[in-house]
């Protein structure tokens, strides 16, 4: 029993996570649904009354209740893991990543789940924070709906079904991600 608890408390290896993600996708298909988290942004827009002014949100979001509850479950899962299953919040990123981030002004890369220089309310009310959270969040919401899916819908579900559209979408994810990481983020982080 102790070894099971010990295993759960360690960071989980990639193959464990990948396997569980595939099983979650399968279970949702078996329940007659599909695996796609970003659809919930649209569901919520509809739930908050977006259908009154926009046709795109004029649908019966109640039929998506299962997806909204799945999403609510993920919040609870994050809480459970954070409260009871994470004895230490150090992310074992590579030495090269640590060196790169130090150069960009992140003092303790890998300590905590995200850099405190970025993920704080103090930063949030600065230009840097507004760009990262407001502009960044907007791009995620706009881009996922434009592309018709995010990591779960395209990179996992779509590629699993060998859909060409999803391959194009994933290439798009990387074009945007690489431009941000190599060209823009160094300037944003050092603001």
């Amino acid at each position: 029993m102790n070894s099971i608890i010990e295993f759960i408390q360690q960071p989980w290896p990639w193959y464990v996570a990948g396997t569980i993600i595939a099983l979650v996708m399968f279970t949702l298909l078996y329940f007659g649904n599909s695996f796609g988290l970003s659809a919930n942004f649209r569901n919520m827009c509809s739930m908050f009354g977006g259908g009154r002014s926009c046709e795109f949100f004029d649908f019966d979001w109640r039929k998506q209740t299962w997806n909204l509850l799945f999403l609510a479950g993920t919040v609870v899962g994050g809480f459970i893991a954070h409260q009871w299953l994470m004895p230490d919040a150090t992310i074992a990123i590579s030495d090269a990543t640590i060196a790169d981030l130090k150069e960009l002004g992140i003092a303790n890369p890998g300590v905590g789940i995200a850099p405190e220089e970025v993920f704080s309310f103090e930063t949030l009310f600065s230009l840097k924070g507004i760009i990262i959270f407001v502009v960044g969040g907007f791009l995620v919401g706009f881009g996922t709906r434009y592309a018709g899916g995010c990591t779960s819908g395209h990179a996992i579900s779509g590629l699993s079904d060998l859909q060409p559209a999803s391959l194009v979408a994933v290439i798009g994810f990387f074009i945007g991600g690489l431009i941000m990481t190599y060209l823009l983020l160094p300037h944003i982080l050092t603001m």
């Binding site: 960071p11 989980w12 990639w14 996570a17 990948g18 396997t19 569980i20 595939a22 979650v24 996708m25 949702l28 078996y30 988290l37 970003s38 942004f41 827009c45 977006g50 795109f56 949100f57 997806n67 509850l69 479950g73 993920t74 919040v75 609870v76 899962g77 994050g78 893991a81 299953l85 994470m86 992310i91 990123i93 590579s94 995200a114 850099p115 970025v118 993920f119 959270f133 407001v134 960044g136 969040g137 791009l139 995620v140 919401g141 881009g143 709906r145 434009y146 592309a147 899916g149 995010c150 990591t151 779960s152 699993s160 079904d161 559209a165 979408a169 990387f174 945007g176 941000m180 990481t181």
Partner: protein, 137 residues
């Protein structure tokens, strides 16, 4: 009560993405810098198993719990929609370090600043809905 299974599935997903550090901003930065195999391992394992699962579903004509056949809707192919939309999402993903699922999981982890990104994401989706007919698809 028929919905409770979705909550449990979500809890499993949230625990897994937290425990495997997929929700960490650092892991996304590291992935886009190609400095670790970790994220490629997570997504790669899920896709390889996903391909096998999807093939089994199709070849055995597996039925869902309701008795209806499992259908995986095909996405209508086009280049601009997926490439431009995908790149816009990629820009935001690399900046916030979180795609839509992890944004909510981070909330459970007590990272409350991410609420601002979630609100902005909702607004982004709303603006897309408003101007979608003007965009190339």
């Amino acid at each position: 009560m028929k919905f409770i299974k979705y909550i449990f599935l979500g809890i499993l997903f949230g625990i897994t993405l937290t425990k495997a550090e997929v929700v960490s901003w650092y892991r996304i930065y590291e992935m886009f810098k190609f400095q670790s195999f970790h994220m490629y391992g997570v997504i790669g394992t899920a896709v390889v198993l996903g391909i096998i699962i999807t093939q089994i579903i199709k070849r055995t004509k597996m039925k869902a719990i309701s008795g209806d056949p499992i259908v995986i809707p095909a996405k209508k192919f086009s280049i601009p929609r997926y490439l431009i939309g995908g790149a816009i999402f990629g820009l935001g993903w690399a900046m916030t370090g979180a795609c839509p699922g992890p944004m909510f999981i981070l909330l459970g982890n007590g990272v409350f600043v991410i609420l601002v990104a979630i609100a902005a994401g909702l607004f982004g989706t709303f603006v897309y809905g408003k101007i979608k007919h003007k965009l190339p698809h």
